[in-house]
């Protein structure tokens, strides 16, 4: 009996097609794995199923959903809960000051009538704490949890919080389908294996599980069947025993990349290092780097890839000193002081932030000022001396901006236009222009094409390749899009759990990339 059927689900965000005719069906008691890269459409699919408001505020979706054969169209998470769907989120939705019991029974409290409630309605009934605790104990026992149900949630280990979230979901009597969104991401190995046991137990109790994870070995171990998404398309639904981890990885990543590189572009890059990182740690929230070693050769484009949250973004931010950093950075043979952005800029390093609008631009200042400011601040350019004053020289700022606008083809009404009103691609070009004005020999580029339309993407990437080729600028490009890394990089380092998992040439196979991104070693590939 099919518990859930989703048929031909299509979702557009504006012009952007994030899901295209995806179908999915789950039997009762089945554990179904959902895998795909970041941006493959997993979260959007779950948001649709759970009736999240973001779906309806952006124009709804196409396609049909059936639960037990009955059409189901969730307008809000409440609808979904009523239909027996529960979701455990990646971020915990627990109230730290409340006890375990109070969190589990939140909004479904057991109550006794009181005098006041008889007059003013049942909102004023008294909580029956002992009954609530008994209920909680029951569900916690189901999960093999020994934690005291009266403890406050604040201060419990993260693993416990995960279990409490699940306890809350299975305490709902009508629960039929539980969505687990990367449930093991925050758990230690033993916690994770304990957790998987619980998931199995739930499935035996007849609850269907939709299991989203980047850890392919878990998926392989626990699920009955798997759906693989890629770029919003459904690649395959298949029984777990009929597919190997290597094949899953290949299907996840696999993409027809046009290897545009002609042979004559293969330049001779010597083993001369412009930058070395040793035991490099960056404390960037959500993107921690945990003791990484990496060498960057002079004149290469080094791609840094990996899944979100594994620490790839932290590397560039750490080199620039924007987040607390420890370890050693050696630039051009000299050790670079840590946690000091000005020193990094002085050592001919420029940085294009992944947060273009937040860090990369002064949105309410004109283009020319944006382009000139870094070099004015760091290198004292664009200044003129009048008496004792060092004033900004508006004429040279403007001339320089006009030159850059022409070179990089920035579409704008003129150098005085405020950057807020530019399109994403043109904003990125202003950032590039600002970095170039510093005349760096090492350019750190973070997510350069995020939020940019396809045409502008190509222009930005072409610009980077041109800089590398013509000015012999070393470029470290960090991107979630493996495709674009493979298009322009000479080598690609895949980051997993804050460390380099492996370095691959851009023409390595899809399996290799997929496995490294999932944290597997390459020995699994049988050559």
């Amino acid at each position: 009996m099919e518990l859930l059927q989703m048929e031909n689900i299509t979702k557009l965000y504006g012009e952007n097609r994030v899901l295209n005719k995806v179908s999915l069906s789950i039997r009762e008691g089945e554990i179904h794995g959902l895998v795909g890269e970041n941006g493959a459409g997993k979260s959007t699919l779950m948001n649709i199923l759970f009736g999240m408001p973001v779906i309806h505020s952006t124009g709804g979706f196409e396609g049909e959903i059936f639960i037990n054969g009955i059409p189901f169209n969730p307008k809000s998470p409440e609808d979904a809960m009523k239909a027996g769907i529960g979701m455990v989120h990646q971020e915990f939705m627990l109230i730290p000051g409340f006890s375990v019991t109070e969190n589990i029974k939140l909004n479904r409290e057991r109550t006794n009538p009181t005098l006041l409630s008889k007059i003013f309605g049942n909102k004023l009934e008294r909580l029956d704490l002992s009954l609530m605790a008994k209920d909680s104990r029951q569900v916690l026992d189901k999960l093999n949890m020994t934690v005291d149900e009266y403890l406050p949630v604040a201060g419990l280990p993260v693993g416990y919080m995960q279990f409490i979230e699940i306890a809350r979901e299975i305490d709902k009597e009508q629960l039929k389908l539980l969505i687990l969104d990367e449930p093991t991401a925050v758990l230690t190995e033993t916690e994770a294996s304990q957790f998987l046991d619980v998931v199995r137990k739930l499935s035996e109790m007849g609850i269907s599980i939709l299991f989203i994870s980047h850890r392919l070995d878990e998926i392989k171990e626990i699920t009955h069947s798997i759906t693989i998404l890629r770029d919003g398309e459904m690649v395959k639904t298949i029984g777990t025993d009929k597919i190997s981890i290597v094949d899953i990885a290949r299907l996840m990543v696999g993409r027809n990349i046009d290897m545009v590189k002609a042979k004559d572009e293969e330049r001779d890059i010597k083993d001369e290092y412009i930058l070395e990182l040793k035991d490099f740690k960056v404390n960037m929230p959500g993107e921690k780097v945990k003791g990484l070693d990496l060498k960057v050769r002079k004149g290469e484009i080094l791609g840094i890839g990996g899944l979100a949250g594994q620490g790839k973004i932290g590397i560039s931010n750490g080199i620039m000193g924007l987040y607390e950093t420890s370890g050693t950075i050696i630039k051009d043979g000299k050790e670079l002081p840590l946690n000091n952005p000005r020193n990094s800029l002085n050592s001919s390093i420029a940085f294009l932030s992944e947060d273009r609008r937040g860090v990369g631009l002064l949105l309410d200042d004109p283009i020319d000022f944006n382009i000139a400011f870094s070099s004015l601040e760091i290198q004292n350019k664009f200044l003129k001396k009048i008496g004792p004053f060092n004033l900004i020289d508006n004429r040279t700022v403007r001339e320089h901006a006009l030159k850059m606008i022409e070179e990089l083809d920035i579409r704008c009404t003129g150098p005085k236009q405020h950057t807020r009103y530019l399109s994403g691609g043109n904003q990125q070009k202003v950032c590039i222009a600002r970095a170039l004005t510093l005349e760096p020999n090492l350019l750190l580029v973070s997510e350069p094409t995020r939020g940019i339309d396809i045409g502008a993407k190509k222009l930005v990437l072409d610009t980077l390749v041109k800089l590398n080729r013509e000015l012999n600028m070393t470029i470290i490009i960090t991107s979630s899009e493996l495709g674009e890394l493979r298009q322009i990089s000479h080598r690609i380092a895949i980051i997993y759990d804050g460390k380099v998992k492996g370095i691959l040439p851009p023409d390595a196979s899809d399996e290799h990339f997929g496995l490294l991104m999932a944290g597997e070693t390459l020995d699994k590939v049988v050559n």
Binding site: P341, L361, L362
Partner: protein
């Protein structure tokens, strides 16, 4: 037409229209325009520097400086000391400023350090610090060891008067400097020139490398950080300059007014200054000299013209009521703008 209204801004348009209406009524009531214009010029000159003090505060990112009283009390101390030593005229005025500026700078430095610990709450905390400083100084005025009979109560003993007359010291030194008459309108040349000088210094600073760093730190702290700017240091700088300008501003204000007002007088000094710059078109994140000039002119003209007109038309001190409504209303309006759009 719409774009023109947008460019001028609705609040400025309403206030300007109201002002023109008041002037027409004043003409109709045969209130002499020449004296009104003289008053407007004087009140513009005496208030403009206090309004100017908002600019470095906004530019460095601490928002509107509701803690103007901090600078003001040190300006008052400067003036009191110069009177104690029986200095008068220009010399007294300059000495007051020379004493007040370093004191205000030190106070501004510590206040700026404190603001770095409460980012995001600067305006609320500033208001209360201002109130506390004024109260603290009330004690100081009572116990300060000043001896000059000009300053202490007429019956002797300890403690300063509530209002100290500057008639024998520095009253009107700037107003009368190079002043001349066009018809019946008296132009307070010195006063306006002194404001022009201060405004010019602030303008030059905002075009200099140091000033630009401060401005960038104020408009996008993350951007500034990634360009190697010490954002906290820039915020302290902005606070120091703002506090120093407040100290100079109150000395200029007092010499034009003819009295030093002690005790509770500085309590609400920040409100009209904040209101004026907001009327001029500044926002919480953006302020220019032109906003100071337009805002002070509109705000002060409104008060000057409204006073005689309303006193003729109705009874009591309606102009004070109007001042309060306009200044607090415009502050409220500006603070409700999402993201600090131009008010």
């Amino acid at each position: 037409m719409n774009s023109l209204i947008e460019k001028i801004g609705v609040p400025r348009l309403i206030i300007a229209l109201f002002l023109i209406g008041l002037i027409l009524v004043a003409v109709y009531l045969k209130i002499p325009l020449s004296s009104l214009i003289t008053d407007i010029l004087v009140r513009f000159g005496m208030n403009a520097i206090l309004v100017l003090a908002m600019i470095p505060a906004v530019q460095s990112g601490i928002g509107l400086n509701f803690n103007l009283p901090l600078g003001i009390v040190f300006g008052l101390i400067g003036a009191l000391i110069s009177i104690e030593f029986k200095l008068s005229g220009f010399f007294g005025f300059i000495v007051s400023i020379l004493i007040a500026v370093p004191l205000a700078a030190i106070a501004g430095y510590f206040y700026g350090k404190m603001l770095n610990r409460i980012k995001g709450q600067e305006m609320t905390v500033g208001t209360y610090i201002g109130f506390s400083v004024v109260s603290l100084m009330c004690i100081f005025w009572l116990v300060a060891p000043f001896k000059s009979p000009e300053l202490i109560w007429a019956y002797g003993g300890n403690g300063l008067r509530v209002t100290v007359s500057l008639e024998s010291s520095m009253a009107h030194v700037l107003n009368n400097f190079w002043s001349f008459k066009i018809g019946n309108v008296k132009i307070p040349t010195g006063l306006l020139l002194f404001f022009a000088l201060c405004a010019f210094i602030v303008w030059i600073y905002s075009k200099s490398k140091k000033g630009l760093s401060m401005k960038v730190a104020g408009s996008n702290a993350n951007f500034a950080l990634s360009n190697g700017i010490d954002v906290d240091k820039e915020r302290v700088w902005g606070t120091v300059i703002s506090t120093v300008l407040a100290a100079i501003g109150i000395i200029v204000y007092s010499q034009a007014f003819g009295f030093l007002q002690l005790y509770n007088a500085p309590l609400y000094a920040a409100m009209p200054a904040v209101a004026a710059i907001l009327i001029g078109g500044a926002s919480l994140h953006r302020a220019k000299i032109i906003h100071v000039i337009i805002g002070t002119l509109l705000f002060q003209s409104l008060l000057v013209v409204a006073l005689p007109v309303i006193n003729v038309l109705s009874e009591g001190s309606m102009s004070e009521v109007i001042r309060t409504i306009v200044s607090n209303g415009i502050i409220l309006y500006a603070l409700t703008r999402p993201g600090g759009d131009t008010a």
